[in-house]
Amino acid sequence: MSRFFVLSLNGLTQGAIYAAMALALVMIWRATQVINFAQGAMAMFTTYLALFAIDHGVPYWLAFLVALSSGLILGAIVERVIVRPVESAPPLNVVILTLGLLLFLEALAPMLFGGQIRSFPPAFSIVGLHFGNSQVAFSPFDAFTLGSVLAVMVLLLVLFQKTDLGLRMRAAAFNPDVSRLLGIRVGRMLTLGWSLASLVGALAGLLIAPSLLLYPTFMDQVLVFGFTGAVLGGLDSAVGAVVGGLLMGFALSYVGGYLGSDLETVGALVILIAVLMVRPRGLFSRHRLRQA
């Protein structure tokens, strides 16, 4: 099997996870104009909760659900308790706030769950599938990763485009004041947006944990690449987030495979700068270049 094909498959799976992370960031950005730098740390925390449940004899899939639902709850708590009070503060303050939350969670996790590096069990085998006599670098767990990210995206698309609730959420993000006049509970919609975003983040954590191992800062890299993907695609576009995340996955895989893994991040930087110099608001932005 050609090297290019292997790297492409690897890039696709990694890209799916970056896409999930980017999507989580974009959902929060669109709802509250905040870049949630604690997104990765929140996902790390929910993944630790899943491992904690598994350690205590909870079946795997139930632990999976524990992580996802604690993601929902954590997102709501963070929005209500920490982000809501600084809604009208300068944007940099919210950046520092989420950075503070990131540090806090990364310190809290080893206090609660122990600081040693842990392995996280995958949902399915991570051994490459066999087709006839040849083995491909694509495992059942990779298939599950792709499938679950795709499923979440379809569900979110249906929610936002086809349901009344989704319409209300979009309206609340688009114009809070008018939405309020129309009887939409804007605050509640924003909380729900944060909840759903951190659910997607929690999923990304569960999917990447088997290959990265679990330690307090294990999601930092994923957050950076997810953020890069979101910026690449354009922060205002959910489609852009997915495309940007996938692009990051492919790019990192090719650069790592052909030029050496220590150049991965440099490759990411070069691609990001190249795209942003042509389109300063990302690939899928619909905004004008400069706002007067």
């Binding site: 940099l92 303050n93 520092i96 706030l97 922060l235």
Partner: protein, 361 residues
Amino acid sequence: MVAVHSRLDRLASRTLGGHLLLALGAAVLLLLLSTQIGAYDNYNLTAVAIFAVAAAGLNLLTGLNGQLSLGHGALMAIGAYTASLLLKDHELPVVLVLLLSVLSTGLIGIVFGYAAARLRGPYLAGATLTLAVALPQVATRYKSIFGGESGLTVPPTTPPAWLGPDFPPERWLAWIAVAAVVVTFVLLANLLRSSAGRAFRAVRDNEAAAALAGIDVARTQVLAFVISAACAGLAGALFAYWSGVTAPAGFGVTLSLQLVTAIVIGGLGSLAGAVWGSLVLVFVPSLTSGMASTLNVPSAIANNLPLAIYGGILVIAMLVAPHGIQGTLTRILTIGRARWGHTPAGGQKGVVDWDDPASDP
């Protein structure tokens, strides 16, 4: 018109004179302080000075010009590697090393500055964050030049002979750092009071209005970036002397984020804010880790408590003091003055100008 001009001229000379006097006073105080404290405290004093130089530069870019950089640690790395490479085979005077580091970082800052001037808000943040992640990797990759993971060792600066044979080297480094911070602050304070400083603020507040007023927006942004990069380069070179080794691990994303934290906690847009923020960066972790080690708790908790407290402080500080330490102090002062019947010169009663450089040292 003539009267206005001469008054402005007088004001300018007063400003410069005031800044110089203040700087001289601060320098003398700090040098005296450094002779009274031990080696460890001199080490901390140097760290505060280094962070203050870098944070002041970042505050100019972010607080005054509105460009958010999450990658200033990478610019510090450029300064640090310049200094380390210069000192690899040659023995050079400190001043020359510092100046060349400032120059090289400033030149690279021009390239980054042009790219940054096209980007806004979170897009600039994303690009600079990626820079912070990527640049240390270059050092890891090109081992023969940058020494790879283990980095380059930096020989310590020896105190000059006229200070006597027993002069402690850490105090000498503290003096160098204090001199660097004082010179940087005087230059920045005057720049902020000049037309360039007003242009920075105008561009931050409203690009379209600034452009209409005849300000070249892109050029102003590049200039702010270059000056800011030069400060980071100076801080990086001092950092190389301070730590004795320049390695990629020292310039990770954490350093960049620490600098942003410093200016927001200290106070955006003011030089004093950079000092407050640097004090927080250096002393809060050492205080909390000292505190945690005295507690009788399992090591898993004691080791992580300082970070948890630090994160908690960031969150709480943003909730209770959104304008940082300097902003809060200014507000308290203004309220006090209003109550006692003194209106601050040039300002309206009860109105707080967060960017008023009059509150700078």
